[in-house]
Every structure is written in structure tokens, then in C-alpha cells.
Symmetry: D2
Subunit: 499 residues, 4 copies
């Protein structure tokens, strides 16, 4: 409840109205970013195939992006201009400094080899070094975004890979591979040229990216893509797919469901997926890859109906609740969860502890970007507009409340206040993540270390600060147990990052 993710991405290949499908998919990724939205589209597939190897395509990439929700940026008439069968889309959470349309994505640049569009979820740790390097070579930047850095790296390598006998597509792929060698950090990328869609996931797979097929095809039909498809056990290297197939790439599988697609598998850490007229090919970036998915994707960011790297989000939330119940039991009358991410965990806690689950808290879903506090006095009371307690669930009761995290502590203190106001006799605070002690440099907007309450305060101090009767965090071991695996970035708890 105190974190913000940076983005959601989507890519569509081979569907009649790619922009409209992207619009639907982005609407289902909107929880990942509400500050800006954009879609880039190409109709090269429908156009007569006049793109010679090494030459520029006649098709153009059209772009529409703007500040606000997906439904603010796109109107019914937007889609007439955005005709085409290949598209990428993006929703963005923007940090305070960069809330300008210049930083909205996708970025579309044209260059020697044609046009390239890029949508990025994640954050580069060597952004400044790469930007400096590009600046040294004469590059100029129209934004402050690290996404523009990635785009320029791809473009430069694309140009420079002019070897005899190499086709345009080979050069493009080579450029993406070279770029991936250079960039460090977290990245799930949807890359588009006039006639090609490419998905890339960083070697640690920190940000999620998954693949689906469209148009009534089921995942089973997509079997040639890899062996044992659908559960990612097998790395589908170099598989080629029949053409005339439509594909979708998305940050979360719920976006595939939204367009009635069938989930195929997650993009592997360090995998590059190229989709063009010849079908789908999977290529390794050639980097040492080790899955280290951001654990907060499960804890907080992702929609409960998404499955990331084979782990259903809601399922693991239940299990975290079960672990919390084991680790930090307490005698109480009801268990409640803080919407939306705390609900599953609370249900899991309830199931394991036998203490009844009740709703207990309502989150106002009409609090959007434009919601304002007319005066300072009102600003203080806004907590009650955002959150309210269900008195009949809580009055006179001992309550266990589950939240996904405690960051600064402010929100937690207010939450306890809301519960007490509704007559809670005892408030036992349980947190489905270990204490967050370190800021994230891989795509999550966290405050600095000295603002993280778990970094500066002991457990008992935090309990007093938030006014709870008891407080417990899930243990790191417990968390790993809940996941049944340990392939996650847990840097914000441990200070040890994969990058």
C-alpha cells in the first residue's frame, strides 16, 4: 500500500484491430500505472510487402499517447487513426519529477533502418553510464527516461550490424541481443518495428512478461512453440511457429484473458521472443540467466487473477496467509485484509487459523487522479474517504488485519485509527512481507532508506508508532516456504539485489 510500480506493457501481433486489443489489455493492466497511457501501431502486415532486406519499410508506426487513464487517452475515434495489426501499448506510473507527456510511453523513433517503438517496464541501474556513453557518441535525448536509452542502443546496433549476407531481421535481432548485453537492471520490453514484435525479459526476470495466442487458438495448439508448454518447465529455444498465428505479450496474464487469448507461457529470464511473418522464434540473449522475479509482484502489484512464472498470484497470497497464521498466531475474533492485495492473504490466514474471515474494510474505488482535497483541513480527513471500516464486522471485536507491507508507517497508523474508530477492541497487525529496509532500484518507487520505518525502527517501536496491539511480519523463510521456491528478488528486505 505504499509502493508504486512503474509500468505495464502489452504487444499484439497479427490481429486485425491490434490497437483496440491493446486498449483492452491495457485497461486490465491499469493497476500497474495510472499516470499516462499510449499505443503504437503498424499496418505493415496488411500493406503490400515492400520492405526489402536492409531497406526501410514503407509502413509507418502511428502513435497516440497522453496523460491519464487508458480511457482518458483513447476515444472512439482514436482507433480509426490507429489501424494496423501490430501494436504495443504501455501504462505508466510516474514519479513526481517526470509527470510530463514527454516521458509517456511507448517511445517511437525513426532511424536509418526504419522505425522502432519501445514500451518498457522496469528500471536500468546503469542508465546514467549508458546515457553518457550515447551522449559521447553524439546522441541527444528528448526525455529523461531510461527507455529512450534502450531504444537508442537498439537503433545504433541495428545500424552497425551490416554484415554481408545478414538479413534485416537477423540484424534487428542481433541489435536487440547486443543491447541486452549492455543494459543492466530490470526490464520487460515490448519492441516493435514496422513488421516485427519482440519481447524481452531481463536475465533475472525481475519484471514479468508472458505470451499468449489469440483468435480462438488454444494453448495446446501452440505446442510447437516449445516442449511442455504452458508451465514454463522447458526453455523453448529456437522453436519456430507457423505463421498466420496471432500473439500477445503482456506484463500479466490477466491481460491475455481480457482479449480472450490463451496463455502460453512466461517469457524466460534472458529470453528474446521474435514474432514476424515467419512466426515466433525464441532466442537466448546469451546471458547467464537466473530467475529472480520481484517478489512484490506477487505481494502487491499483480492482479490476483494473474499467473506469473507459473505461480498463481492469488494462490501464493493464500499460502502467505497460512504461513503468517503459523508464524504469528494470535487469539482474535475476526481476520480482515486491506484491499486489494491483502484480501487473499487474510483469507489464507483465516483458513489456517480457523478464525472467521470478514470483509471489515472498504476501499473507495472512485478516488482517482483528479480527486482533490479542497483545503488542508480536509486533506487530513481524506483517509476516511479513501478507507472505511464495516462497524458490524469489527465492533467490540479482536481483529487481525493483514496488509501487504509497511513502508513509511503512515498508512498503517491511519488504518489502525479507522479500525479503532469502528469499535475494534484489539488490532493485531500482520504483514505479508518481511520488513522493508532497503529502497528498490529495479522499478519500484520506494522512499529513501531513512524514510523506511523498518530501516529506522525496531519492531516494538513500529507497533507503537502505528498503534497496534501486536505486530508481526512474515519471515523471509516463511515467505519462501509459501512460494515453494526461492527464485525471487528480495532486495528490499535484504539489501542483496540480483543486479
Amino acid at each position: 500500500m505504499g509502493f508504486h510500480d512503474e509500468c505495464g506493457v502489452v504487444g499484439i501481433f497479427g490481429a486485425e484491430n491490434a490497437a483496440a486489443l491493446s486498449y483492452f489489455a491495457l485497461t486490465c493492466l491499469q493497476h500497474r500505472g495510472q499516470e499516462s497511457a499510449g499505443i503504437a501501431v503498424s499496418d505493415a502486415l496488411g500493406a503490400p510487402s515492400g520492405s526489402p532486406a536492409d531497406g526501410k519499410s514503407a509502413a509507418q508506426i502511428k502513435l497516440r499517447k497522453g496523460m491519464g487513464l487508458v480511457s482518458d487517452v483513447f476515444a472512439a475515434d482514436s482507433f480509426e487513426e490507429l489501424s494496423g495489426s501490430i501494436a504495443i501499448g504501455h501504462v505508466r506510473y510516474a514519479t513526481a519529477g517526470g509527470r510530463t507527456v514527454e516521458n509517456a510511453q511507448p517511445f517511437v523513433h525513426s532511424f536509418k533502418m526504419g522505425s522502432i517503438a519501445l514500451a518498457h517496464n522496469g528500471q536500468l541501474v546503469n542508465h546514467h553510464e549508458l546515457r553518457e556513453m550515447l551522449e559521447d557518441s553524439g546522441c541527444t535525448f528528448s526525455s529523461s527516461s531510461d527507455t529512450e536509452v534502450i531504444l537508442k542502443l537498439i537503433a545504433q546496433h541495428f545500424i552497425r550490424t551490416a554484415e554481408p549476407g545478414k538479413t534485416r531481421q537477423e540484424r534487428l535481432l542481433s541489435a536487440v541481443k547486443s543491447t541486452v548485453q549492455l543494459i543492466k537492471g530490470s526490464y520487460a520490453l515490448c519492441i516493435m518495428t514496422e513488421d516485427t514484435l519482440i519481447g524481452v525479459r531481463d536475465p533475472n526476470g525481475i519484471r514479468p512478461l508472458c505470451l499468449g495466442v489469440l483468435g480462438g487458438l488454444k494453448a495446446e495448439d501452440a505446442a510447437p512453440l516449445g516442449q511442455g508448454v504452458g508451465r514454463n518447465e522447458v526453455r523453448p529455444q529456437g522453436g519456430t511457429h507457423p505463421c498466420n498465428q496471432s500473439y500477445i505479450l503482456a506484463s500479466e496474464s490477466c491481460a491475455i484473458d481480457a482479449v480472450d487469448g490463451s496463455f502460453v507461457r512466461d517469457i524466460e529470464p534472458g529470453e528474446i521472443v521474435v514474432i514476424d511473418r515467419d512466426g515466433l522464434r525464441s532466442v537466448s540473449a546469451g546471458l547467464e540467466s537466473r530467475r529472480q522475479t520481484c517478489i512484490f509482484e506477487y505481494v502487491y502489484f499483480a492482479r490476483p487473477d494473474s499467473v506469473i512464472d507459473g505461480i498463481p498470484v492469488q494462490d501464493v497470497r493464500y499460502r502467505m496467509g497460512e504461513v503468517l497464521a503459523e508464524e504469528s498466531p494470535v487469539d482474535a475474533d475476526v481476520v480482515i485484509g486491506v484491499p486489494d492485495s491483502g484480501l487473499g492473504t487474510a483469507q489464507g490466514y483465516a483458513g489456517a487459523s480457523g478464525i472467521p474471515y470478514v470483509m471489515g474494510i472498504i476501499k473507495n474505488k472512485y478516488i482517482g487522479r483528479t480527486f482533490i482535497a479542497p483545503t488542508q483541513k480536509e486533506r487530513e480527513n481524506m483517509v476516511f474517504v479513501k478507507l472505511n471500516a464495516i462497524r458490524s464486522d469489527l465492533e467490540g471485536k479482536r481483529i487481525i488485519v493483514i496488509d501487504d507491507s509497511i513502508v513509511r508507517g503512515t498508512t498503517s497508523r491511519r488504518l489502525v485509527e479507522v479500525l479503532r474508530r469502528a469499535g475494534a477492541k484489539e488490532v493485531h497487525f500482520r504483514v505479508s512481507s518481511p520488513p522493508v529496509k532497503f529502497p528498490c532500484h529495479l522499478g519500484i518507487d520506494t522512499p529513501s532508506k531513512n524514510e523506511l520505518i523498518s530501516s529506522t525502527h525496531e519492531l516494538e517501536e513500529i507497533r507503537q508508532e502505528i498503534g497496534a496491539d501486536s505486530l508481526a511480519f512474515i519471515s523471509l523463510e516463511g515467505m519462501v516456504k509459501a512460494f515453494g521456491a526461492d527464485a525471487f528478488c528480495k532486495g528490499c528486505f535484504t539489501g542483496v539485489y540480483p543486479v
Copy 2:
């Protein structure tokens, strides 16, 4: 999931920034109407008291209203223009025919006695007769709303009650009483003159309206208002309240919570509450009153954190679930509820049946008024953007799904489709209201009788139509049992209406 309520209302008296408080309260009533929003405000209390009896007040009622959400209509600078300590506000769900700003509320009219503002939740059944009567007397109407009819009736009676010795306030109250004698149907009214706030609830109390105090005062402090305050057992006739008190009237108690107010009690059926410089007075409209609250307020419209007529909404939803479990048990693996109103019922069913409650379904909260379907083909798929299933909760399982109602059947069929797509082995549909066989004429937007699937189809036919493995509705008796009382309008089930 197939109904629409007409409105939410709020009234504030004696608070420094009445418009801002109304804004917060309306944001918490936004679920009752998303088509238009408005606030009318007066600063008469702050102005030098120069309103002579029987004369017009110098103060003016300022108004701002428009199409869209509360947060669309009001911007930070709106509140500078809307200074004042008395306000009423309104959010509206508009039926297709009247989606124009001319029908947005509050209505503010000026007339012989000053200005009057009105916000109305409900629907008059003798609207056309009253309008004709007023038209016969020469009235013209700038809208097609029955709210304008009520406003004009009050104004006309206000003017005509000029008896010697009667004060302005006595005449106003007399006018409201006379109006209430004339209008039939459902109405929860917030009425405002330059210096007075009045709340009225129809003799059957069909639409809810409750009272709170603001400014740190607790409900206990408000005791003089009646004997046994807080649970409505006692009718607080004629009680007068100390002045310098700040009050709030609202359709639902969650709006009182939003401004950190304290719930005092519900307005009684047929009660008129007058709040002015002299405090609060409760007056009977002098009609035979019998509580017949719209039962769908509990089943569907109200927020779970609201308490209506002493019955906590969420609580009764749990109990309806329990009754459903008793009445229509079925062997299954999980129970799920259709958000948002089906959740509590599902939790109640789970508790009573011992079958585990899981989340199962996600409703996209970013689907607003401006969400569009670019093409016809996309329109059909929009169901998956609006609703998605959590596969890990459902795959291979026998599912009990609880919805609040079945109206046309279309939504239910799509819901079953969504669940089956996610791998549900069996889908057992349970409905927390009896079959809706009759349209509502008291404030709910229902289709005509021959579009109501329960009116035209037998149970088994409906089951087949929606594609469920089994289907059951709660019985009327069971519903009454869940409520522990029988003071409700159940016209849509029985065809017997209180009016």
C-alpha cells in the same frame, strides 16, 4: 448486477466548508450514481443576519453541477466559489433518455420567498398528475425530472401559507408538510433554503436517509435529539437540539464516516427534520407511516459499510448467505461471490456450509463512463475486460457462485462463461434475492416486465439459459428470516408495492 439506483443525496449544516464536506460525502455515495454530480451552497450563516421574517434572504444559493463523476465536476478552484456553511449535494444515475445537464441535481430555483435547492433520491408515482396540476396552474418546467415537481410544490405552498403570526420558518415547514401530503412514491430529500437544511423521508422510508453530527461531537452528545438515539427505536418528535451544532444528512451512513462525523440515527419514515440557527427539530409529516425500506438497498445498492434503518448492510448479506446455504445446499469445492455485492453473501454461505470461500472473480475497477468498445467485435469480448476469473481458485473445481440478482439473464450467462473458461467443473448459481418478476416504479431502473427473465421463464429454463449446473434463488421467507424483520418493499418479487 443489472439494476441501477437513481441517486445519492447529502446535506450539511453549520460546517465551515460545507461544499468540501459534501464533495467528500458524495465521493462515498458515488456508487449510487455516476452520471452527474452537483453541490448547492449558501453562506447565510456567516453573513450578517438580515433575513426578516417573510422577507427574502440577502444570501444567495450558489450552484455547480455537471455531467460525470464527482471528481470530474469539481476542481480545486470550484470550492473558492462555493464558500458557505450550508450545502446539499447529489449524485445521479441517469436513464438513457435524460442524460443531459438539464436533469442534473440539485435543482435551485428562486421564487417569492427566496431560493430553494433540492436533491432527491427516489421516484414519484404520481409525478405526471402533479406535473399536470402544476401545469394547469401555469407552471413551466425546465427539465423532465420529478424533482422539479417537488421543488415547485414546496415553493407554491410556501407562498400561499401567509397567515398572520406565522414566521418564515413556520411557513417553510408548513409548505414542506403540504408537499409531502401530495407526493406519492419514494423520496429521500435534502432541501435547502438560504439558512435552513431540511431532510425528508417518504412515509414508507423506501429510500434511505440518515443523520449525523460533525465536528468531533459523538452520537452520545446528540442525545437530546431523541430518547434512545442511535437505533431508531424511538421516534424523536419535536426534539430540539442546541444550536452551534453541525449536522449531516446522507443517503448512507458511510458518507457520515467519510467526513469523520458520528452517525446519530436514520430519518424515520414520514419524518421531516428541520435544521436551522435554532438547532434541529423533528416533525412528523402527519402521514400514516410504515417502514418499507427497499430491500435491494441491502441486496445490491448500498456500500457494505453502511447501516440502514438499524441493519448493517454487510451483516445482512452474511445472513442471506447463511440462509441460502440452508435452503439450497449443494456439494461443491469452493464458494465465490460476484463483486461487489455478492462477496458478503458468499462469505456467509461459506461460513454456514463449511465450503471454503475463495475470491474467484476480479472486477475491473477502471471501467468507467468513458470506456469504449472500438468495434462491434470488441464489444462482445468486453465481458472479459470487465470480469475475469482466478483460474487457480476455480480450475477443476465445483463452484458455488453467488450473485445478488438475475434480471435479464445476460450478465449471468456471461459470468458462467467466464467461470467455465477458467476451468470450473461445475457451476452452481445461487442468488441472494428471490426471482425479480416485476419492474420497480420507486426509484430503480428496471427493464419492462417482459424483459425480466424470471417473469417469462421457469427456473429450469433460466438455468439452461445461463448455462449453470444448478440454480437457486433465496426464498422470500428466507430473506425475511435473514433480515430478522419484515419491514421492506419487496414489490419487484411480489408485485405488491407500498405505494
Copy 3:
């Protein structure tokens, strides 16, 4: 340059796309008001004729209005909703107090006899008395506009004229006549019911209103309308026109030109023109009528291409310039006019004096409603953004500058400053209206008497105040001479008003 007119009106009858034609006409009347715009339309003519005498028409009057320019309020899709062959439209200049959409016109009210829409240019002097009278009879008002008063009077009389044998149209006409007996002041009205368009002009004809035919018909074809049509010499009483004809009413003839119509004649003072399925009938309001057209319509408000009451606006401006040259000659090098209304007068002065006319001043045409002065300091300099001098026309020269009026004197002082800055050696200020000493109560927004510089200062004082080398106003006699007639309201010069 210091006055503001209140409005422009248009009415269309019998044309296929009446709203679109109104849009064009209003765009050509936009100079009369830029604060709000609106169009009301009915498709009764196209609908099956089901409007029984004394019964309500099945057709409805649709309305769209809003704040801003005509082109801001209407978009391409507005006209789909506004289908119909009868329409009235309005553009409005709003005084500071009433800049709300509630006061935007047309007003559309429904009542016992159906619906009525009204667009009004002018101002009632007995507005408050009539409003009080209506309030006494129980009327309520949703605006502060005197237009609503007129609408309600018509409606009330319409209802009350139920005499045996009288048709609906006879009753409507009777109601309009009765209303005209009651209202005093200036008014040019376009009135619309579902199937009828009515134009009315006050007995003094203070605000202009003229008639045209549409659809390729020429004015000559319209002869039956009156004897000696086209120049208004003859009062066309009771003439009936063949049906299947399309008509336009408009504040100025330039709006008739805009829709490729043919000007027929001005509506006479005190005339009521009724247009319905049976054609056009002209009826006298039965009041003593004497033409007293507002002389400022010619001096300032009207477009130069309009002809009002038989006098071409531009023509009379030339002649006023000639008179000024005779009355107040001065030795100078060039004559310039203040755009836009001073140009014709300057050209007339130049012609008569033999002193060359040059352009000399540029008025920025992109200064609209949304133009802002970021800070106070910039606000002072905004005069140079609004007006600039052409140095090559003025440098080192003795200049005669013609403006239409001096109101407060502020604008004139700034104008002289602009000219001096551009190198003018001498500035001789000539004004094409006599000193404005009295405020207008008939539709022009003037400051109060003590803010009118001519009311508080002598000629020489004014000259010093504005910094001119010489100053002269046209004499009242000279003005009358220029017009070749004396049928004008000159109240702002003399304090003697027709009403």
C-alpha cells in the same frame, strides 16, 4: 469600444438541417456575444402530424447550450442529436454576475400546452415587477434572467386562453400578444414551439430583428408577404405566405447571407411574425409603435455588412465620418479608424476631408475568452498585445483617429499612448457618437453614470485625460443628419429613453 451588447438571436423554420443552419448563422452573430451559445430544435415538421388542437405535440424540443464560442459548444456529433427542421439559437454576452450556464439561452420549458423555447436579445425594464407578479402566482425561477420571465408569461397566457373554438395556434398567438402587452423594455425574440416559429420585436424596435427566406428563393418571390417588400416602407399586416417555404429570423441580415438566404425585410416595431405549416402571418401586437432603434447598433455593435431597418450599417458609418469632417475639421496628415467599428467612419471622414485614409492600427484577432495575463505586471502591458500601431503610417504625422465612443476614457487614453509610441506628432481624436452621459437600461452593458467620463468631465478635461491634441464628438444633430432620419433611441446621450 467600451460597450457590450447582450445577445444575438436566430430562428429557422422549414429547413432540413435547422440546427446546422443556426450554427452558421450564430457564427455570423458571434460578435454580439461570446460568453455562451445554444440551439434548440424540433423535428415536428418531419414527424407525422399528430398535434391536436389544445393537445401536446408528440415532438420534443431538443437543446444544447454551453459556455464559450459557438464553435466551442458544438462539435460535429452535436448535429446528429439535433435533427429537425425548426430551430432557434442564441449567442450571449454575459455580465460578470451571471456567467453561468444556468443563464445561457435558449431557455426551453415544457408546460401544459407542450414545450416552448425562447431566445431573447434585449432587456426588460419592468423585469423585477413582472418577476414579482409571477412569483406571487407561485412561479419559481431556475435563472436570474429576464428571459425566463418572458417565457413564463407566454406559457401562463397560453394556458389561460382556453376559449371555445380557439385553435391551439390562435391561443399561442394570443398568449404572445398578451405577454407583449406586459413586458416593457427592449426585446427581439425568437420563440419556438414544437411546430411553430415566432419572431417578435418590441414596439420601439430597439433591438434589431429581420426576416429572410431560404432555399434559393429570392426576396422577389416572397412578395405576397407584404406590399413593397424588401425596404420595409409598408407594414405587412396579416399577409399569409404559401407554405413549403423556409424562413430565417436573425438579429442581423449578415446571418441571412451566411446561410445563402435572401433578406426580405425587418420585423416592424411591435410586429409579431408567426411561421408554421400554414406559412407566415404578420400580426400587430396592438401597441402604439414607434421605431426607436438603438443607435449604437449602427455605431458599434452591428457588422458592417448588415442592414438594419433599411439603413446599411457601413453606409451610415461613412456618412457619420463625413459629418464629423464637416463639424470638426482639423489640419492633419492622415485619418485612421479604431477597428472594427471605426474603420468605415474614418473612411467617410477621409473622403469628405480629402485627408488620406490609412490603416494605422491593428487589432489582434486571437485575443479570446481564454487569453490570460499571467501576472499583474503583464496585465498592464496587455494593451500592446491587443492593439498595435503601424509605425510607417503614423511616424512624424499629424493623425486624426476615429473611435465609435468614449465610455470610461481608459481605452482612449491607452489608444493615444499606442499612437504616440509609434511616432505620431499630433493625435486628433474624433468620436462618431455624442458624449455618453447616461447608462443604458435597454440591453447594453454600460457602467454607472459616475463612471461615464462624459458625465463627470467637461470636453477639455476629457481631452487632457486621454492625452489627445484635440477632441471632438459628433453632434446629436449631425448624427441625425448622417442617418437621414430620427427614429432612434439616443437615451445614452440625452437621458430620454423610449421606455
Copy 4:
């Protein structure tokens, strides 16, 4: 009347509220482009001077740009974010293909040496070659604009000029000089870094650019800038100006007037003006320079109150009218001009011929970007909404009408129609430019050669096509005579271009 210019530019240095002054100036350049507007601003001067030589400045360039008029893009609160004392601004006319915010100017890019902002009026003829060259070196482009090409060239040269002993400012200037060596075509540039404003005009001076001082200083005080300042006779090489001075660069001198500045002189063809903390320096680009100002700036684009390259626009329009009267006399009753550019020429013709000048035509000034034609039928009639004739000026008369040019002939034909409809007996068409036979490649949006009526038709054919009684164009010689000089690009008449 058939041409469109590309842009207007402004630069402000050393003024407290540079963005607000730019806003005013752009409002006065709005006639040069109404499609998009933008302002970039830096507060480096106010910030502590921490920009080391060769290092990046700490200050940032803030940017706001968008589609629409200046007054649409900027609101009162825009200027709080845009604080700073150095700014550049741009208004743009966009050709159909590129009406997207991506092409709106100024462009702001950051790169190795800091940030650079660029506003460009003109068009490069070697745009594609330069773009290709930059693409070869790895550059990517976020727009299709040649302005981005110029910006990148400056940036690349800036980076590469790292010679020992060279200061940052020397390197910047060197980069601009090198860029100017590469680009060919027409360009008036306002370039901004965090602490420097640079103005550049192409070696032929095709697009105008002039210099003024702000803050009460008069042009005389600015004398050190050059010898014989104010009329451009002398090339002010290397002059340095005292600092603490505020400057303005603008496409037209009317923008200098708008901010109460004093015109100093035009930027010379091939001149680079650098303004920073050390004052103003003028540098030659080192190219062979020959003034070849676009003659259409005088004929059509520029505001009459502007002075370009020492020639007052309005003055030369008068003289062109005089020449036309000599060359193509005709017996007629009145002379009229097509607003706005034809007015001065008509007045000149009238003066020379002795035939009276009258206004005759009105152009609707409320026809903006959002003006629409609801249906096809209405579209045809829109000519009468845009233009109307003053019947009293024209009826029964032989008319000479002066327009600035004939491009496709369509507009001229409609104009003649408008005049005939108003009763003109004869229409004699005179054109203040020679026949336009060749398209422009230097910044004016012209149709292709075969759409230019003078390229495909003989004089007599054109006369018949437009329906005039006689037709004459000014001769090239006559035009030169009117200008009293021959330093102009006349490529659209002759096919001979300076570049």
C-alpha cells in the same frame, strides 16, 4: 489566401517572466501558425552560477507545448511551472500529414553538454540528406520534423569541438556555425541552452528574424550593438553589448511591440546572434550571404504593423497597389481589398487611381480550427460564413477587388460569386503578386505545380475560371519597383530559388 506559412518564433533573454513575455509575443505571431504552440524556459540566470565551462548546467529547460492556439495551450497556472528568465517560443502551421504533438515545437533535447531547445521557422532543402547522414551515425528521431535534424547537428558538433582552451560558449557557437555550414534552405532559428539565447538567420534571410530590447530601454540606447543601428544598413559584426540587458528575438517586429520592447534591427542574412551573461555578440556564419527575403512575407504572411528588413509591410502594400493601378487601370466605381492582406494594396490602388476605396468585404474572425461543417451540403455554403460582402458598398457598382494571390483559383471564384451575389455589376480582379507558377520548397505550404492554376492556365482562361470581368496580376518588374529594391526570393513566380 491560399498559402500557409510554417511558423513564428520568439526568444527572450534576461526578463523576469520570460515565459509570459513569450506568450504575449506568440499571441502576436499567431497569424503565422494556429496548429500548435509551445514555450521552453530556463531559470539558469536566476540560479546560482554553477555551470562550469565544459560541464553541464544544473539548470533545466522546462517545456510546455500542445495542439491549438497559444491561448488553448497555456492556462494561468502554466506560468508557475515555467518560471525563468530565458525562453523560446513557437507557433506552428502544420501540414496535414504531421498534425501531431510529436511535431510541435520547440524541441528540447538533452545531451552530453546539457540541454538545447530549438524553435525553427523555415524549411531545409537538404533535410533528407542530413537526416540520412545523422541516421548513418546512429541517430534516432522522435519526429518527422527537420527541426530535430538541426538540433541534433548542433548537439553533435557541440560535443565534438572539445579543443583545449575553448570555453563552453565558444564550443556552442562553433557548433552552431558548423551546423549552419551544413543546412541548406530557409531558417530563422531561436536556439536556447540553459544560459544562452542564440538567433540565426539563413544566408539568404528567407525567413525574417529581428532583434529588440526590453525593459524601457530604447533602440537608441542599444547603439553600441552596431553602427547605424535600426535600419540594418551596417552589419554589426562582433559588437558586444553591456550585460544586464534584456533582449527579444522575434519573427516579426509586431511581437516586439507587444511586450513594449524596442525594435533594434533585423538579424542579417547569415548572422548568428549570441546572447548570454556577457551580453550580445554578433557573429557571421562565414557563408556567402545575400538577402533574398521571401517576398510573400510582405504580400501575405506578415502583419501590416511589422517591419521586415527595413521595409514596413503596410507601406509596401500601399505601393504595390499604386503600381497595380498604373499597370492595370480600369474604369470602376470602387476599389476593395480581400482581408486582411489585400486591404493595404486596395488602399494604395485607390489612392493612385482616384477611385474610392470602400470596405466591401467582411471576413468572419470567429472561424477557427474547431469550426465545422455539419454536413456536405453545409460545407458548400461555408464560403458565405467565412466571407460576406457589404451590399451597400457594391450594389450596382463596377468593382475592383484586390487579392494577394491566386493559387488554385477556387477561393477567387467563390469571392467573385460573393461579390456578384451582393449586386456587383462588374468585377475586376487585381492581384498584388505575379502568377504563382512554381511550388515553394522554402517554408510555404503550396500545392504541387499542376494544381497551381497559373501554371496550367493562361490568363484569359483563369479569368473565365474565376468569373471576373477582367483580371490582371502585378508584373515582376512592377513588384520590384514597389519594393524599391530587388533583394527577394521570387522563386514561386520564376522557378529560380536562392537555394
